[in-house]
Symmetry: C2
Subunit: 969 residues, 2 copies
C-alpha cells in the first residue's frame, strides 16, 4: 500500500505540522560514547547508531518525510554520507546546552564549533533554536545564542507550570522574546513554547519499537481495523491544540529523547495518519520541520505578545522547582569553569604560536568543553559514571597540552623543588586579558628562605603563609585519590607575591633560595608570618589596605565591612546554614540532582575561638575559620584590592543521619533591599529578581526558598539607597535573597534520594582512597564587595573578567641565570601604547583551520549600568588586511544574516522601543570596531603577514614555550 | 568500516555456525493479526512487519548474511517481494505446530498447506524440521512430519532436563530418531537437540534493540574498546559447546522468539564477531543455516546414536512437568477436533461438487485450522483473548459454508421445528469414511409423537429420551452466551434412531409427526421412555445388547463390565477426583496453563441415589449421574455397540475457596497392568509407557503424578494376561495410569495462578451472560471397552476413525413428499461393490487449485498390532488417467525425495533393523496402491472426466446441496 504523504500546507484548514525528531543526550544515564554505540543498555536502551542507520533509509524511501536532530557532538562525521538539510536546521551546536550552568562564552564556543562544522561540511546554516530539554531558559539564550546567531525561531518545552497554564489560557505560548534591555528589538527572537512537552500531543501517538500506542491498522483483511477511530483521535488532538494556538498552524513534536531506534516504526504510522487524515479532510496533516512551521506562521502576518527577561526558575509542578541543579556537582562546575578559562587563554597562545607548527592543540579540549555544556553535563544531573566521563574528557583535553592539573589543591611539583640545591624556579605569568593587570600569585614552597625577583632581577615584596593542617590533610588525601600516590614532598608555605603583567602578554619571576640569592631571611618585608592574638572582647580588624573587615573575636564572626577610600561602613555578617533535603516521604518529591526541595533550615554555628586563626602580612591578611568539622573557610583581604575573597572548603557533608544536606553561605547586612536582588543571565546581563514574584503571572508561592533560587554564573547583588552589596562567584551556583538585606549562595549538596526525574541516583558524590569512600569535599571561592550605590558595576564587570580569566602560570627551573639570559622575560601582544578600553573584553582570539583568525569583542556593560562605561566604545585593529564581520557563531556574514532575518510584529505599538544603539559596520579603511552596551561583535580577520601582528614578537622567540609548562592558578 | 563476513567452513577448526533466526508465534499473548501489525504492544512488544521490513534491507546489504523464519501463516504473501531460499528452508508449515494436542491429520494438513504454498510461490522445498518451541516431541513429528515429508534434519530445544543433562554428558544431543516401530529405518530422521534452548549460547550474545549484551565496540576513537574481550567470550562459548558436540561443527541459534524487530541490530554485531573472531583464528565463525550446518555434519561421515519412541513428557526443571497443557482449554481442543473432522468431510463434498462451481469454500477453515495447530493455540497455552480469536476464526471458517454450530449443546433450530404443523424434517446423513457404517443419531425434538422413515419410506425404529433439567439449563445459558439471545423453542426430547450410510456417501431420513404419518404414538418400539426404579440393594444391569454395565444402586456406582459375546466379565469402577493445583507458595512453581503440578488428590463422591437416573430403550440405555453440583455424567450403552459411551459435563469448577482444581476421571479395574500402559502418538502409533520410568535415562521421580502424564489424542489402554481395557477420546487430553489396573484422563482444569512460563494469566476460563461470569462448563465424551487380550486393536482403530469422522448431518424441511421425490436419497461415491479395506482410511480427498486431486490413504495398524489387519493392504483406484506419488506434504514427488534424502549412519550395527516393509510403487497400468502397516501414501491424481468419477453421480443432481445445510452432530 502506498500512502500519500505529499501534503503541503492547505490554507483555511488547521495544518498539523508533524515534526519527526529526537535527540540523544550527549551523556546523561550513559556516556556519550555509550549512547553512540549503544552499549550499557542495561541502564538505558539508547543507541545513536541505530537511529542514524535506520533513519537514512527511511528518509530515502519517501522524500516527503522529514527529521530533525540536534547535538552534533554525537553524530559527528556521520552525515558526511548523506546530507538532508532539514536534519541540520536546528540548534547546530555540539550539544543542546544547558542554560543555567554554562557561561555565555562557553555557549558561544560550543555553538560556533558546531555551526562552523556544519557550514564547512554541508554548507548548511541552522535557522532554528531547539532547546526543548533544558530546565529553564536564559535571556542570553534568547538574544545572544538565538537572535545574534541568526535564528528565526526558538522552540522549547520546559517552563513553569503556572506560567504555562496562563499562557495556554491566553493563547500566549508563542511570543516575541526581547531578552536584552540593551539590545532591545535588535536582538529579539520569535519563540514557541510547547503546550505540554516535546513529545507527541497525547499518549496515543508514540511509535517507537515497543511503544504501546495503537497503530493505524488499515488492513481490512485482518481483524481490528481501526482507521476511523485513529483518524478521530488525530483530529480531536489537533483541534484541541488549535484551540490554544494562534494561526491555523500547529506543530506536533513527533518523537522524544532517545527514540527512532528503528525510525521506520514512526514513519510507517505517520505515513498512514497523513494519508487517512487528509482523506478525512477535517484537518490537514503534513510532514514538516520547524522551518516550514515558522515560515507558515510568519506568512500569517500575525502580531505576537512580547516577553522580556527570562524563564527561570522552572517548576514542572507544585513543590518541584528545578533549582537544585544550579549547584549540583560543584566540583564539576568548577572544573568546567577552570578549563573554560584555560581554553580561552590557550587559544590565544596557540594563535601566537601558530596552529600548524607545534604539537600542542586545543582541539580535544574544545570538544570536551563543548560536550560538557550539555544540559545533563555541567548541570550536574547525569549519573556519577557519566560525570566521571566528562571529567576524564576535560582532563585528557587539558593533558594533551599540559601537566600539573592539581595546582588548585596545592599540589604542584615544579614549584616544590627544593631551592636549597641551588636551582631557581622560573615562573612565567600569562595574562589573557586585554588590560594590564596586577594580581597576587600564591605558590607552595618547601623552604622558608626564598626570595622573588622580577624580570629585571629586582627583588620584590613577597609573603610566606604557613600551610595549615586542614589544608595539608586534604591535599594528601586528594593527591592519593586522583594520582594514585601520595606526594613525597610536603610544602610548608604558600609564597605570595604580586605579579604585574601587560595585556595579552607575560612577565617572568624568579624564585630562589634567599641565601643563594644573597638575601637573608630577615630581609625586611620579604616574608612575614603572623598568628593573631585573640582577646575575649576584642574587635579584630583585618586587612592591610583600604578594606578592613571587623571580626568579633568572642563570636569568631565577621561584624562589619569598612572601606576607608569609598567611606563604606556597613554591618555585615557571614554564616553557613544547611537546608535539609526533603526525602520524599511527604509526596514523593525529594530534593535531588535536579530539584531543590528544602525541608527545614538549620544554622551551622562556628566552633568558637579555637578554630579562628588570622595570618597577617604586607600583601594580604588571611582569616582561617574552622566552622565545623566539614566546613573550613579562609577570608583574604589584599592590600591592593577593595574586595574580600572567601575560600570555602566544604565536605564531606555527613549523611550518616540519613538526611541529605544542602549547604549555603549567607551574607547578611542591614540593607533595605525590598525583596529585590539581581542575578546574571549566563554570566552576562543582570536581571532583576523580586522575591515571591513573577512578572508574567500571579505567582502562587508553594516553595518560598526553592522558588526564589536563580542561577548565578557571574554574581549576585542587592542594593538600597546608599550602597550595593555584590558577590561574584568562581563557578556556576544557585543563589537567592530569602530575606531582605541578605544574599545567599548554595555551595554544595549531598542528598540521599533520587528526585524522580530519570537520573535514578541520589546526588551523593564520593571520593575513594583505596577502598575507603567519603563524601566529596569541594574548595571554591567567592568575592564580596560593598560599593556606594551606582558605583558597583565597574568592579563586577572588570573583576568579573579577572575571575573568569585568571593568570596562567608556567614553571621551569634554571641553574644560575641561564633561563633569564636566553629567554624573553616580558611581552605583550599588543602595542605597548595600547590596552583595550575598560568596557571591552577580548573573548575570542583563535586561529581557524583556514589560517584566518576569529576575533570576538564584547562590551561588558548594559545600558544605564555605569555612568562612564555604559557608552559606545571602540577598538582599533591594526596591521590587518581584511576584516569580515560575522554573526555570533561565525557561520555567516553578519550582513547576510541581518538581511534574511524574519521580522516579527509585536502586539501593541506602545511596546515598541526605539531602535537599539549598535556599533556601525567596520570601515575597512579605518578598522575601528564600535561596541554599544552589551554588544558582542565577531570577526574573521586576515593579516598581511603569515602569522599576524599579534604574535610577531613571540614568533621570533618560539623556543620559549617549548620548555615551559603552562599551569592553572 | 567493512567487515569480512564471507567465511565459509574451515576444515580442522571448530566451525561456529551462526544461524540468525526468529519466530513470531501465530498467536500467544497477542493474536496472530496483532503480532503481524504490531498492535497491543502493551501486552508484548512484537511486530512481524518490523521484522520483515528490516530484514530484507539487512540481507540485501550483505549477501553473506542469512536468516530463517517459520510460520508461514504470519508472513503469507510478504516474501513475494523478494525471495531468499534460506528464509524458507525450515518447517514451511503454516505454523510451528504443537506436538501433543494436534491430531496427525491436522499436522499433515497444515504442513501441506504451507509446503504447497512455498513450492508454488517460490519453488522452494523446505529441508529442515525446526520445532524449537513445542513442549515435548512426538514420534509422529519425527517419522511422519519430518522423514516422510522429506526433511534431512529435525531440530528442537525442549526436552526433559534430566534427559538433556545425560545427553550433554554423553555427547548424544544429536541422534538418529527412529520413531516408528512399523516403518523403522525407512522413516528415521537425523535430529539435533539444542544444548540449552533456541537462543544464543550465553547471556552475552543477545542483540535485539534494547538488549543488554555488550556490543562489540571496535571504534578506537571512542572509550570502552572491547574487541579482545568479546572475541574471548565468543571463543570460550564455542569451545564449551564443541566439548559436548560431535564433529567440528556447532550451531548457534542467534535469536529467539519475537526478535529481529530491527534486524540490523543483530547483524551489525554478528558481522563484527565473524570479522574479529576469524582474525583471531582460534575458531571459525560463519553465517550459516541449518542446511549448511547439517550438510557439514553429514560430510563428516560420523555415526550417530539411535533414539526410539518420543520425547514426552517434558519437564524444564524439577517439579515442572509440562503436562497440564495436554488438557488445558478442553473446549477449544474439542472445537478444533470437531472442525478438523468437518474439514475432512467438507473437502470431500467440495471435491464432489467441484471447487470452482459453488460459493462454498473450505479455504478459510483450512487457514483457521492450520493456525490453531500452533504450539500456543490448540495447546491451550495462549491468553484468553487469543483463544477467543482462534475460536472466532474457526467459527468464521465454518460459517462461511454452514450454520448451526451449536448442535453439540442441544441447540439446532432446523430440527426443532414444530412438526405438528404438517411439515417434515429431512435429515441427510453423510459418511466421510470409506466404509459402510451404522450409527445412532440423536436429534432434539419438541413433539412426543414423531416417527422416522428411511429413504425408502419405511418407518424405522426410534427412541425418545427426555431432555433432563441439567441439560436444559446449560443449553439456555450457553445459547444466551454465544448467540446473544435465549432460544424461543424448547425441545423436550432427544430422538434417537439408527442411520446406515454407505462409504463416502449419504442416506436420507424423514422425521414427521406420527399422527400425520399415520402412526400412533403407541406404535410398538418406536419410542420408549423408561425411568429406572432403584431399590436399595439392587444390582442394576444396563444395556440393551451384548454389553451390560452393572451398577450398584446403593452406591450409585458402576461395578462391573460384562460382554456376553466376548465373554469379558470384569470388575470395573469409574470415579472422579480432582487434583489440587499447586498455588506456587512452596517454590514459585504453580500449576498453570503449561504445567501440571498437583498438590493433593481429592476424591469426588457421587451424591447418591437421587442423582442417579436410568433411561432405557430399544436402541440404547442411558445412565444419568449427577456426581456433584458441577459434574454431570451420562453413560450410554447401545444395542449394537460393544463399548460404553460416557458423556461428561464438567463445570463450572468452583474456585471460591481459592484453590485451583484439575478434574480427572479414573477407570479402575483389577487388571495386573504392571506399571505399563499405552498412549497414542498424535493419534497414530501407540507407545508403551511405564510408570516412573524412562527408556533413555534413569528417571529421578519428583512428580509421581504429573511426571507420568502423556498426551492422548486417540486413546489410552492397558492390558494384562487376559484382557485389554481401552479408552478412546473425542479430543486431545492428558492421561495416565497412576496405579496398576487404573487409567485416568484429565478432563478439565481451572486454576488460580500463572505458572511463570510467559502467558501471565491463570488458566481460568469463564463464560459470561450479560455481566455475570462463571467458570466454563465443558461437555465431552470418551468411550470405554474391554476386550480379550490381543483383540482390542480393531475397535481402537476402526471406532477411533468413527470418532474422528462422525456422520455429518444436513437438515431441511419438506411439505408432503416434495423433497424425497425431487432428490437423490442415498448415494455412495464408491462403486457399490467396493469399500475400503478395514485397515485403510481415506484421510485426504481434496481438489487442488489446479483441478488435480490430492488423495491420502493411511494404513491404520502398526506391525504386530492385530493378527488379521497388521498386514499389507491394497486399494484399487479406478477411472484415473494419471497418478503421481508425492511425499507426505505433497510438495515433491516421492521418488525425488527418496533420491536426495541424506542417509545417516547409526552407531552399532546391531541396531540396524531389516528394511521395513513398504508398499511398492503404483503401477500406472494396475493402479493398485499397496499400504504396509502404518504407511501413509499421498498421491496427486488426475481423472479422465472433468470432475472425476468419484463425483459423477452427485454432479448430476447438484441442486441437492444448494438447499441443504450441513451440520455437525
Amino acid at each position: 500500500m502506498m500512502y500519500n504523504t505529499s501534503a503541503g500546507i492547505v490554507p483555511g484548514k488547521i495544518n498539523v505540522h508533524l515534526v519527526p525528531h529526537s535527540h540523544d543526550d550527549v551523556g546523561w544515564l550513559k556516556t556519550v560514547d555509550q549512547y553512540y554505540v549503544g552499549s550499557n543498555n542495561s541502564i538505558q536502551v539508547a543507541c545513536v547508531q541505530n537511529v542514524l542507520d535506520s533513519l537514512i533509509p527511511a528518509l530515502v524511501a519517501d522524500k516527503n518525510r522529514k527529521f530533525i536532530y540536534v547535538e552534533q557532538a554525537i553524530t559527528h562525521g556521520f552525515f558526511a554520507l548523506l546530507s538532508f538539510d532539514f536534519l541540520l536546521e536546528i540548534n547546530g551546536g555540539m550539544c543542546m546546552h544547558d542554560e543555567a550552568a554554562p557561561h555565555y562564552i562557553d555557549m558561544i564556543d560550543q555553538t560556533t564549533l558546531g555551526h562552523r562544522y556544519i557550514k564547512e561540511q554541508f554548507n548548511v546554516t541552522p535557522r532554528i533554536g531547539w532547546q526543548i530539554d533544558p530546565f529553564g531558559h536564559s535571556a542570553v539564550q534568547a538574544y545572544l545564542l538565538s537572535a545574534e546567531v541568526g535564528f528565526d525561531f526558538l522552540f522549547f518545552a520546559r517552563i513553569d507550570y503556572q506560567d504555562r497554564a496562563k499562557r495556554i489560557n491566553e493563547k500566549t505560548l508563542e511570543v516575541v522574546w526581547r531578552a536584552s534591555k540593551s539590545l532591545g528589538s535588535s536582538a529579539q527572537i520569535m519563540t514557541g513554547i510547547s503546550p505540554k512537552n516535546y513529545e507527541p500531543p497525547s499518549d496515543n501517538f508514540y511509535f517507537e519499537v515497543g511503544d504501546t500506542s495503537p497503530i493505524v491498522q488499515d488492513d481490512m483483511n485482518l481483524f481490528d481495523y481501526n482507521v476511523p477511530e485513529r483518524v478521530n483521535d488525530f483530529v480531536s488532538a489537533a483541534i484541541a491544540q488549535a484551540n490554544i494556538t494562534r494561526t491555523n498552524h500547529i506543530m506536533w513534536t513527533m518523537g522524544t529523547d532517545f527514540k527512532y531506534q528503528y525510525a521506520h516504526t514512526w514513519f510507517r504510522q505517520m505515513d498512514k495518519f497523513i494519508h487517512y487524515v487528509n482523506q478525512d479532510g477535517r484537518v490537514n496533516a503534513l510532514y514538516s520541520t520547524p522551518s516550514m512551521y515558522i515560515d507558515a506562521k510568519y506568512a500569517a502576518n500575525e502580531s505576537w505578545p512580547l516577553k522580556t527577561d527570562d524563564f527561570f526558575p522552572y517548576a514542572d509542578r507544585e513543590n518541584a522547582y528545578w533549582t537544585g541543579y544550579f549547584t549540583s556537582r560543584p566540583a564539576l562546575k568548577g572544573y568546567v569553569r577552570t578549563m573554560s578559562a584555560y581554553y580561552l587563554a590557550a587559544r590565544q597562545l596557540e594563535f601566537f604560536k601558530g596552529r600548524n607548527e607545534v604539537g600542542l592543540s586545543t582541539d580535544s579540549l574544545a570538544d570536551a568543553l563543548a560536550l560538557v555544556q550539555h544540559h545533563d553535563a555541567v548541570s550536574g544531573t547525569e549519573k556519577q559514571h557519566v560525570a566521571d566521563d566528562y571529567a576524564k574528557r576535560l582532563s585528557i583535553g587539558y593533558t594533551e597540552a599540559e601537566k600539573c592539573p592539581l595546582l588548585n589543591i596545592s599540589y604542584c611539583p615544579p614549584s616544590e623543588v627544593d631551592l636549597s640545591s641551588g636551582k631557581s624556579l622560573v615562573v612565567v605569568v600569562y595574562n589573557p586579558l586585554g588590560w594590564k593587570r596586577e594580581d597576587i600569585i600564591r605558590i607552595p614552597v618547601i623552604n622558608e628562605n626564598v626570595t622573588v625577583k622580577d624580570s629585571k632581577g629586582k627583588v620584590i615584596e613577597s609573603q610566606l603563609l604557613p600551610l595549615l593542617k586542614d589544608s595539608m590533610s586534604l591535599r594528601n588525601s586528594y593527591s592519593t585519590a586522583y594520582l594514585g600516590k601520595s606526594t613525597n614532598v610536603t610544602p610548608s608555605y604558600w609564597l605570595a607575591f604580586s605579579a604585574s603583567v601587560p595585556p595579552l602578554g607575560f612577565n617572568t619571576y624568579i624564585i630562589s633560595s634567599a641565601k643563594q640569592a644573597g638575601y637573608e631571611s630577615s630581609h625586611s618585608g620579604m616574608r612575614t608570618v603572623y598568628k593573631s592574638q585573640i582577646s575575649q572582647n576584642d574587635t579584630i580588624e583585618v586587612g592591610p589596605g583600604n578594606l578592613k573587615l571587623l571580626y568579633s573575636g568572642k563570636r569568631a564572626k565577621l561584624m562589619r565591612y569598612i572601606n576607608s577610600k569609598t567611606s563604606v561602613n556597613k554591618l555585615l555578617e557571614q554564616s553557613y546554614i544547611y537546608y535539609r533535603g526533603d526525602d520524599g516521604s511527604k509526596d514523593l518529591q525529594p530534593s535531588g540532582a535536579y530539584i531543590f526541595r528544602p525541608n527545614g533550615t538549620y544554622p551551622i554555628e562556628p566552633e568558637g575561638q579555637l578554630s579562628f586563626t588570622i595570618l597577617r602580612g604586607p600583601l594580604l591578611d588571611e582569616v582561617h575559620q574552622r566552622i565545623n568539622p566539614w566546613i573550613y573557610q579562609v577570608t583574604r583581604v589584599y592590600k591592593g584590592k577593595d574586595h574580600a575573597e572567601i575560600e570555602f572548603t566544604v565536605g564531606p557533608i555527613p549523611i550518616d543521619d540519613g538526611i541529605g544536606k544542602e549547604v549555603v553561605t549567607q551574607i547578611t547586612s542591614n540593607m533595605i533591599s525590598n525583596k529585590t536582588f539581581y542575578t546574571d543571565s549566563s554570566g552576562r546581563d543582570f536581571i532583576e529578581r523580586i522575591r515571591d514574584y513573577r512578572k508574567d503571572w500571579n505567582l502562587e508561592v508553594n516553595q518560598p526558598i526553592a522558588g526564589n533560587y536563580y542561577p548565578v554564573n557571574l554574581g549576585i547583588y542587592m542594593k538600597d539607597n546608599s550602597s550595593e552589596l555584590s558577590i561574584l562567584v568562581d563557578r556556576s551556583v544557585g543563589g537567592s535573597s530569602i530575606a531582605d538585606g541578605q544574599l545567599e549562595l548554595m555551595l554544595h549538596r549531598r542528598l540521599v534520594a533520587d528526585d524522580n526525574r530519570g537520573v535514578s541516583e541520589a546526588l551523593n558524590e564520593t571520593v575513594c582512597v583505596f577502598d575507603k569512600c567519603e563524601g566529596l569535599t569541594i574548595i571554591g571561592k567567592y568575592y564580596l564587595r560593598i560599593d556606594p550605590v551606582g558605583e558597583a558595576a565597574k568592579w563586577r564587570r572588570s573583576f568579573g573578567q579577572e575571575i573568569y580569566s585568571p593568570f596562567l602560570l608556567a614553571f621551569t627551573e634554571q641553574d644560575g641565570d641561564h633561563w633569564a639570559n636566553s629567554h624573553l622575560a616580558t611581552y605583550s601582544a599588543m602595542d605597548t601604547t595600547y590596552v583595550l578600553p575598560d568596557n571591552v573584553a577580548l573573548i575570542t582570539l583563535q586561529e581557524l583551520d583556514s589560517g584566518k583568525v576569529l576575533l570576538r569583542l564584547a562590551h561588558l556593560y548594559e545600558i544605564e549600568e555605569d555612568t562612564d562605561l555604559s557608552v559606545m566604545s571602540s577598538v582599533e585593529l591594526k596591521k590587518i588586511s581584511k576584516v569580515t564581520e560575522m554573526n555570533l557563531s561565525a557561520n555567516q556574514e553578519r550582513a547576510v544574516m541581518e538581511k534574511k532575518r524574519l521580522v516579527w510584529r509585536v502586539e501593541g505599538s506602545s511596546k515598541e522601543q526605539p531602535t537599539a544603539v549598535r556599533g556601525s559596520p567596520v570601515d575597512p579603511a579605518k578598522l575601528v570596531v564600535e561596541l554599544a552596551p552589551m554588544e558582542i561583535r565577531t570577526f574573521v580577520i586576515e593579516f598581511y603577514s603569515e602569522r599576524g601582528s599579534f604574535s610577531d614578537a613571540l614568533y621570533r622567540r618560539s623556543n620559549l614555550r617549548r620548555k615551559a609548562t603552562f599551569s592553572l592558578p
